[in-house]
């Protein structure tokens, strides 16, 4: 045991002096996460401050109901502002320029058409790039249209299509509005088990570069064989497995330290939200073990350290891309199934499961999956090592 630790300490000292571990383990991923978050972090944000205008060209009672009752309720809800105007062209121009999110236009003769049972139209003008604000405006107008339609239907079905008696119409309109709403909509807001863009990118970069960081420990075995120090190590009263253990320990320490620095730095510097500390620690440790195991397996199959490095890099990039570190992979189709074969995807899933206030228990399935990768990797590597020997 002590031999393994000594070997590991020697390797770690070498790495730190070389600065390459520092570069790959911390500087590059953090730098990239920072760049990505400045680029993407604010890019997809949606501003929900709505600026609406309404032009009432009609002036009749139905139009007035929309302007005086429906729209003020929108303002009262705090959704945004509504201004009234007389000039359609001016409003149209402001929407086109993007100064207004959307505008409502009630054409002349609107109220007359509604009360006589003819068709009527509310025009919603939306700015082309304000699709959500326009959708909401259309929804507001539709809600009003539905109310009006209810009255029209009731009047039509009771008094016939040519109903003209204003008193009767009024009575029915009142009766309809006094009807209790038969269908209530019980809204439930779910906790979104998804990472925000900044955290997603930070975590993606961290787990991607992890697979490069842990290479240093496991590949040094091959390097020592080439340089000749391995034979001298084995000549000493040090067990073969102590030597291997030392190398694995190096990878493990490098991986955990670099991940820890990345987690803290991305949290402090760019506002990534990793989640429950215990859960994150669990995922990091399991992730490092899985990465070490896979890289060790490749090293056990390679003949030279250069060959090992190349294959490790290839596997790291392929698993990373398929695992969704650069962009999310949707869950459907064969691609969605392929992504589950990567430890990267499970690491990200573990974090997502805890997003929005979950605890370490939520991360257990992902941690378990990572340990499966580790078991398979180490198992196969051990078989290779025992068969080949450390000659």
């Amino acid at each position: 045991m002590r031999a393994a630790v000594t070997i590991s300490l020697k390797d770690l000292r070498e790495r730190v002096r070389d600065r390459s571990a520092l570069l790959f383990g911390i500087v590059v991923p953090l730098g990239l996460a920072f760049v990505f978050s400045s680029v993407f972090g604010g890019a997809f944000g949606v501003d929900l401050d709505l600026d609406y205008a309404v032009v009432d060209l009609d002036g009749g009672p139905v139009a007035a109901a929309f302007v005086d009752e429906v729209l003020p309720a929108v303002v009262a809800e705090g959704l945004g502002e509504v201004t009234t105007s007389d000039d359609v062209e001016y409003v149209r121009e402001r929407v086109r320029e993007g100064e207004l999110t959307a505008a409502f236009v009630l054409p002349e003769g609107f109220s007359e058409a509604v009360t006589s049972g003819r068709g009527a139209t509310i025009e919603v003008l939306g700015n082309v790039d304000a699709s959500i604000g326009t959708q909401i405006a259309a929804a507001i107008a539709s809600g009003f249209a539905t109310e009006v339609a209810a009255v029209q239907l009731a009047v039509g079905a009771t008094l016939g299509p040519d109903a003209a008696d204003p008193e009767a119409i009024d009575r029915i309109a009142t009766a309809v509005s006094e009807q209790a709403a038969p269908v209530a909509v019980g809204e439930v807001e779910t906790r979104r088990r998804e990472l925000d863009p900044v955290t997603y990118l930070s975590a993606g970069m961290a787990v991607f570069f992890l697979f490069f960081t842990v290479q240093f420990g496991v590949t040094s075995l091959l390097e020592e064989r080439r340089v000749g120090t391995l034979q001298r190590l084995l000549a000493a009263p040090v067990g073969r497995w102590s030597v291997i253990g030392g190398k694995l320990l190096t990878s493990f320490v490098l991986g955990v330290v670099s991940m820890a620095v990345l987690v803290i730095a991305s949290d402090v510097l760019i506002g990534a939200v990793w989640g429950d500390p215990l859960g994150v620690a669990l995922l990091v440790v399991c992730g490092v073990v899985a990465a070490t195991a896979i890289m060790a397996l490749i090293a056990s199959v390679a003949r030279t350290s250069e060959q090992a490095n190349v294959w490790q890099s290839i596997i790291a990039v392929v698993l990373g891309s398929l695992g969704g570190v650069f962009f999310p992979i949707a869950s459907g189709g064969w691609l969605g199934r392929l992504t589950l074969l990567t430890p990267h995807q499970w690491f990200m899933r573990g974090l997502s499961a805890m997003a929005g206030g979950g605890g370490p228990v939520d991360a257990l399935p992902a941690a378990g999956a990572l340990l499966v990768f580790a078991a398979v990797g180490f198992g196969l590597a051990a078989v290779r090592m025992r068969g080949e020997g450390l000659r």
């Binding site: 070389d18 730098g31 990505f36 139209t121 082309v128 539905t146 299509p161 909509v185 779910t190």
Partner: protein, 392 residues
């Protein structure tokens, strides 16, 4: 001249013969274009998770039909309410709707009933939720009208509902007409082939990245004493520098040509006007060659150069719009991108050529900027390399 060409040829041969490059230079770019095209190239349709309990009744089916008719999203049916909540939570659906058993019966009896609408706090999903609310509102309005008719005329609810539905077929009601005004920043993305955007952005990313990664060979040449031996021959330092520059350029050009041909053949990618595209590619290869030479001349540790090269290569690509299109950047970030990266200008040029069908005349500004950047990089790098060689 022959010395220059043979030095360049060696650089090219080394790159092609290195077996690890087989993956990183040839397989990976196409793999990423494929992945990006599959993930983002298609059109986006939001999903609605739906669960209708057994015995919800005919009116529930009407509600579902109304929701389907809106034709705004894809409907995924779940086996139970928990499945709906799970889908929305995971982000597989933008919103969820559950309709309880006895929905129809309650409405016909004059009672009230509650449907469940599961929403996510994400603003982009509000559109789906509001469409569902509108559909529910419409059915509620029909029911209220029917109840009023039943009260006023003294008929049964079923009869009243039939009358109301008959009127609904005839009365046009109030329509809401939505029109979009203004010029969209995204308007020219429509009509883009599924793989076109990924291809041009990945071309820039990989040409630059491969060049930078290859800068390690320049350092190795110095480390292994090859440069010293070259200088001892009747080859001047200036010829060596020129040869290395040409070599870097040749490597970048081969990478670019491979991606253009490969994506055209395999994915049917449209690269726009050939003259314009060739101009952009040649100039961008010059920029990449210059950057690679600068790194090769500045660093003396090839592992460090490799790390820096990858970091700078990926970072500039992200900043320059080779990972997400520049159009989604904020105004500040767009300015930063154009100030700091050659990728931004090259991506703009391709946007003009591919999305707006422009020709070489439309990208003169972009080409000029890239040429200036290339000139500065190559000159600085050559000067540095010359000094380093002569001193060694």
């Amino acid at each position: 001249m022959r010395a220059v060409l043979s030095i360049a040829a060696v650089a090219l041969r080394r790159m092609l013969r290195d077996r690890s490059n087989l993956f990183f230079v040839f397989i990976l770019p196409l793999l990423l274009v494929l992945l990006i095209g599959m993930q983002f190239g298609g059109s986006f349709e939001p999903h609605l998770a739906l669960h209708v309990e057994e015995g919800a009744g005919a009116l529930a089916d009407d509600l579902v039909a109304a929701v389907e008719e809106a034709d705004v999203f894809v409907i995924d049916r779940a086996d139970d309410a928990a499945g709906v909540v799970d889908r929305v939570g995971r982000g597989a659906a933008a919103a969820g709707l559950t309709i309880p058993a006895g929905y129809d019966a309650a409405l016909r009896d004059g009672g009230t009933v509650e449907v469940g609408l599961i929403v996510s706090p994400s603003a982009t999903d509000q559109g789906v939720a509001s469409t569902v609310r509108a559909a529910v509102g419409q059915q509620a309005a029909t029911v209220r009208a029917a109840r009023t008719v039943a009260d006023a005329s003294g008929v049964s609810f079923d009869e009243a509902l039939a009358r109301v539905e008959a009127v609904a077929a005839v009365v046009p009601g109030v329509a809401v007409e939505t029109s979009r005004l203004g010029e969209s920043a995204f308007s020219d993305f429509e009509g883009l082939g599924q793989f076109d955007l990924g291809a041009s952005s990945q071309l820039l990313l990989f040409v630059f990245l491969t060049s930078l990664a290859g800068s390690a060979t320049l350092i190795q040449a110095r480390q292994w004493g090859v440069s010293r031996r070259m200088l001892s021959t009747p080859t001047s330092a200036r010829q060596i520098v020129l040869g290395e520059a040409l070599g870097r350029f040749a490597v970048a050009l081969v990478q670019a040509a491979y991606i253009v041909v490969g994506t055209r053949v395999i994915f049917g990618v449209d690269w726009g006007d050939p003259v314009g595209a060739a101009a952009v590619i040649v100039v961008f290869c010059l920029v990449s060659a210059g950057a690679a030479m600068l790194i090769g001349a500045t660093f003396s540790n090839d592992a460090q150069a490799g790390g820096v090269g990858i970091g700078v290569g990926l970072g500039l690509a992200a900043l320059g719009g080779s990972m997400a299109p520049i159009e989604v950047f904020s105004d500040t970030m767009q300015r930063v991108a154009h100030l700091v990266t050659p990728h931004a200008w090259a991506n703009d040029a391709f946007a003009e050529l591919v999305r707006r069908g422009g020709g070489i005349g439309d990208i003169v500004v972009e080409l000029a900027v890239l040429l200036v950047v290339a000139a500065v990089l190559v000159t600085t790098a050559s000067w540095r390399l010359h000094r380093v060689l002569v001193r060694s």
